[in-house]
């Protein structure tokens, strides 16, 4: 492509226009994206919203002609500054990518080449599209790093991706995308894998750059909070079609489609909280510690410990939900496992109904297993793919000796399934036939099967789409009312807390930095970390 003179586009210019884009499966011809059209304007962020499988990522990849072999562009056009990208030869397309249209991807860690220094990776883009070489090249990269807010850019140049934090990796991605000053930036879920506090920073950066560089940004996300905070215009994609387009203001105040409405409703309502239910404690943790040994040296002696949980005390009442909030690596899941006696505790005490259960042996723990149950994060891996749903639910009943005859068991499974809004005949199916939300409901049924007093919910909704998430949470709340069970609800997402928890504890680096009633924490946080977490929560 000949090098055109690049002028700073003025706000409102249409930089990229997608028309009737259709993408089909190469093998079956089934349409994944069904003739969608939209356009991006300079200086504006256009958000494409949808749940997983809605075709939003495919749309972005198709625009760059980066579809995997299994997918095929079967119609429509993508124009950049009036030039039809689909009509270009592959060789010329290579000059468009990175130069005029740049892209950033969801998981920066895997999207960066692990064996190249980040500096070189950014420099490669420049090398491909400009004449910069040598020291000038390095200088340019460093200044880019500076622009996207990477500390010590000189040194970071020679870092490998894994040596940077998640936020910094995403910044490198952005620097790479912006290196050749493209007109259009496509950001495919740029913040999904990041912790909430970082998420906000990255989004702000994109927002700033859009303004300062007059970029046309296509932001692809499933998170309505992100949309609300960042985008100018919104389009909702559902099963390969654009069902609604509007400006952000209009969209949030007046969504036209029921589906859009559901998405918006998933945003937290920070005005309603649940009151503390009871004060008779069911589970009490006192200064619980879980340490993992660090071995070093010739003899592999234990020289130190990783303090995954370092002195946590809390209490959960009967029929109460305690939300344990923290970012990844804060030790909240480990704590959950310690309560389940799946992880030995290094100190402190765990009392259940007043009895010490911390450090009990396998046999001694057995009676309590009935009363403490668990729901795991990933519904797909938490069920044996080779067992039927009925067997999965029955397993606990059998091994914990809930002396039931096969008929009774069958009836109970049926009841449970129906209770979690599934059909009785689902008992004969296998896990892979269900969706994530359904599986999580089965997991709930499995936990309920042994009549527990306490269920430890380890991020039960984080793998689910927003709309489904709400259903599962509602079910949990309903069941709590019905059976009076308590939940220890482990989550990284503060936004689901309000309608769910009675009490909230915030964990950071193995310590409980703050705890209190949901209202206290969400309206009047004391600890700065809690405040930072809260700041990242989108609000209506």
């Amino acid at each position: 492509m000949s090098r055109e003179h690049q002028t700073q586009p003025t706000a409102g210019t249409v930089c990229l226009r997608v028309q009737d884009l259709t993408v089909t499966l190469a093998e079956t011809g089934e349409a994944i994206v069904k003739g969608i059209s939209f356009e991006l304007q300079a200086g504006k962020v256009f958000a494409l919203v949808g749940e997983s499988g809605s075709g939003k990522s495919v749309t972005s990849l198709a625009a760059m002609r980066l579809l995997p072999d299994a997918l095929r562009i079967s119609g429509g056009s993508v124009e950049v500054s009036g030039q039809d990208l689909f009509g270009l030869s592959e060789a010329r397309m290579q000059e468009v990518r990175g130069r005029r249209v740049a892209m950033i991807f969801q998981n920066a860690m895997s999207a960066l080449n692990p064996v190249q220094t980040v500096g070189r990776q950014v420099a490669e883009t420049l090398r491909l599209h400009t004449r910069l070489r040598g020291a000038a090249l390095r200088e340019r990269v460093v200044s880019l790093f500076q622009e996207v807010g990477i500390p010590d850019p000189e040194q970071r140049f020679d870092f490998f991706p894994h040596q940077l934090s998640g936020g910094q990796q995403q910044r490198v991605m952005i620097a790479m995308a912006l290196a050749c000053e493209p007109d259009v930036l496509i950001a495919d879920e740029p913040t999904t894998a990041l912790d909430v506090t970082i998420q906000l920073q990255v989004l702000n950066l994109i927002r700033e750059l859009t303004r300062s560089r007059q970029l046309a940004v296509l932001l692809i996300t499933h998170d309505m909070g992100v949309v609300k905070n960042t985008a100018d215009d919104v389009a909702v994609m559902y099963r390969g079609e654009l069902i609604e387009r509007a400006s952000v203001e209009d969209f949030f105040h007046n969504p036209k489609q029921a589906y859009s409405r559901r998405l918006i409703d998933a945003l937290p309502d920070l005005t309603h909280f649940r009151e503390a239910a009871t004060d008779s404690p069911l589970l009490e943790l006192e200064d619980v510690k879980v340490w993992f040994p660090i071995r070093r040296g010739l003899l592999q002696r234990v020289v130190d410990h990783t303090r995954a949980v370092d002195g946590v005390s809390l209490a959960i009442g009967r029929g109460e939900t305690y939300a344990l909030v923290g970012e990844s690596g804060s030790g909240k899941s480990t704590l959950g496992r310690a309560v389940l006696n799946l992880e030995p505790i290094a100190g402190g005490e765990i009392r259940f109904q007043g009895e010490t259960i911390g450090g009990l042996g396998r046999g001694a723990m057995l009676p309590y297993r009935k009363q403490i149950q668990v729901i795991f994060q990933n519904p797909f891996s938490s069920m044996n793919p080779r067992m039927t749903v009925g067997d999965i639910i029955a397993e606990g009943m059998i091994s914990l000796g809930l002396a039931l005859s096969p008929e009774e068991r069958k009836a109970r499974i049926q009841r449970l399934l129906e209770r979690v809004q599934l059909a009785a005949e689902h008992a004969h199916r296998y896990p892979h036939e269900f969706s994530g939300g359904q599986l999580q409901r089965i997991a709930i049924a499995r936990a309920l099967a042994v009549n527990p007093e306490l269920i430890i919910c380890d991020e039960p909704t984080s793998a689910l789409d927003v709309s489904i998430r709400a259903e599962v949470l509602d079910l949990l709340a309903e069941l709590q009312r019905e059976f009076g069970v308590s939940y220890l609800f482990i989550t990284h997402d503060l936004s689901i807390v309000p309608g769910l928890a009675h009490k909230v504890g915030v964990m950071q680096r193995g310590k409980l930095v703050e705890q209190g009633t949901a209202e206290q924490i969400l309206t009047a946080p004391e600890h700065p970390y809690t405040r930072a977490l809260l700041a990242a929560v989108p609000r209506i």
Binding site: F376, Q377, N378, G396, S399, R446
Partner: protein, 456 residues
């Protein structure tokens, strides 16, 4: 007739039965079924499977052994029936005595005359030195020039018979499987090719030596066919033998961790650090000595050869179990971190139950992949071992022994190429089919590859 059940016969039938049971049970498991469906939905998979099935059929037929009853001479008063020392298999009978038509020594494929000159008497009764006619080739021809036409004619007739047989075999399948989503046509075509060539081989071998004869005058085609049983059995039994050890140890190491893991790791590191070929050689010699020292254990020579063969399978299995054990240990480690095992712990499910219901069924795919992958490697290994002199018993037909015996024949002028060719062809087809099939099985069952496809 008195059936003879050799150890390897028993084992192979046991294997077939257990495999059948296994698949019958798995039938209920939709995930596995889906994966198998994936394997069979490719035409290549169908063809490869049909070829392998044909080989296995031959191996099974060749594993039905019996001893013929000897006719008692009339003078003998006793009613007791005595049996021939020679063990015959159903396959031998089906080939129509292909293995019983011996020449004196080498002869080329489809030759009418021996490969070597001999003193013979000519029409006038004078001694001359010439290539003598073969005993079992072209006897029905009145003139050697008719040979080409005769072969062609017989081939056409054989082909017609073959097609008739195909019709018999394939029609019921067609009626049964019409409208199935699998590419059965590929399988039927392969079956047709195999059946036709089988009919062709059997019928032509009555009049000619299709692949010539070897030094001792034995039919090379027959020997190559007899090699099938050895190859197939070695490929399957060796893995079968090692399975229990490898699976038990691997699962225990991965599940219990701690000292159990240390011991198992020590065991397989030690074993795998020994150069395999030395270990195999040493163990084979060991078994040989044992068998030599206890000749009374085995009534018939064939049983002795068979015992050696089983021993070889066992040794090959034991020396290669470490790879499988390592894989299973790694997989078990991974599985025991998974939600469902954790959940089982939370439900207080006992160790044995967790191992049996959660861990084992989920490592089966590794066993399966190893099984098919090792199969071809083992068939190939047999040839190499025979070269080193620690292969199967020389009295047992095997491709390795054929190659080993025929190596020097290449240096003959004119070259004797047919023994090598026979062994090469039958071995190549089996190994190729097995390799292709194992590729498909791995693609279908290896979570890594299926993940890759899902992401694409």
């Amino acid at each position: 007739m008195k059936p003879v059940i050799l150890w390897s016969d028993a084992l192979i039938f046991l294997l077939v039965i257990s495999l059948a049971l296994f698949f019958w049970r798995l039938r209920r498991d939709p995930q596995t079924r889906e994966r198998w469906a994936e394997v069979f939905s490719s035409r290549l998979g169908m063809v490869a499977f049909t070829v392998i099935a044909a080989y296995i059929m031959v191996a099974l037929l060749d594993s039905l052994h019996f001893r013929r009853a000897l006719e008692n001479p009339e003078s003998l008063a006793t009613e007791e029936v005595f049996y021939d020392n020679k063990v015959t298999s159903v396959f031998d009978v089906l080939t129509g005595g292909m293995g019983e038509r011996f020449e004196r020594t080498y002869s080329a494929p489809f030759a009418l005359l021996s490969f070597e000159k001999e003193n013979i008497k000519d029409a006038d009764g004078r001694d001359i030195r010439d290539f003598p006619p073969l005993r079992h080739a072209g006897q029905h021809l009145s003139h050697p020039d008719e040979r080409a036409a005769d072969i062609l004619g017989k081939s056409v007739r054989a082909l017609l018979w073959g097609l008739l047989l195909c019709a018999l075999v394939i029609t019921p399948q067609w009626l049964l499987l019409r409208g199935s989503r699998f590419p059965w046509l590929a399988s039927w075509t392969t079956q047709a090719v195999i059946l036709c060539s089988a009919v062709w081989m059997v019928s032509l071998s009555r009049h000619y030596h299709i692949l010539g004869t070897d030094q001792g005058g034995a039919d090379v085609l027959f020997q190559s066919l007899k090699g099938i049983r050895t190859g197939v059995l070695l490929g399957t039994l060796a893995t079968l033998v090692m399975l229990p050890i490898a699976v038990t140890l691997g699962v225990m190491a991965g599940y219990f961790k701690g000292w159990v893991d240390d011991v198992v790791q020590y065991l397989y590191t030690t074993l795998s650090s020994i150069p395999g070929i030395l270990l195999i050689a040493a163990s084979v010699l060991l078994f040989q000595v044992y068998i030599d020292l206890n000749p009374d254990f085995f009534a018939v020579g064939m049983e002795k050869a068979d015992a050696k063969f089983i021993a070889l399978c066992f040794i090959l299995g034991v020396t290669s179990w470490s790879t499988l054990c390592r894989l299973i240990r790694a997989e078990t480690l991974k599985i025991s971190q998974l939600g469902y095992v954790q959940a089982a712990h939370a439900f207080g499910v006992s160790h044995t139950r967790i191992l049996g219901r959660h861990v084992l069924p989920n490592v089966v795919h590794i066993i399966l992949i190893t099984f098919v992958l090792d199969f071809s490697a083992l068939v190939l290994a047999e040839a190499v071992l025979s070269y080193i002199g620690v292969g199967v018993d020389p009295s047992m037909g095997s491709w390795g022994n054929m190659i080993n015996g025929a190596r020097s024949e290449l240096s003959r002028e004119p070259t004797i190429w047919w023994t090598l060719t026979g062994a090469f062809f039958f071995m190549f087809v089996l190994v190729l089919a097995a390799n292709l099939f194992s590729d498909l099985v791995r693609d279908a069952f290896d979570p890594r590859t299926s993940l890759r496809r899902a992401s694409a």
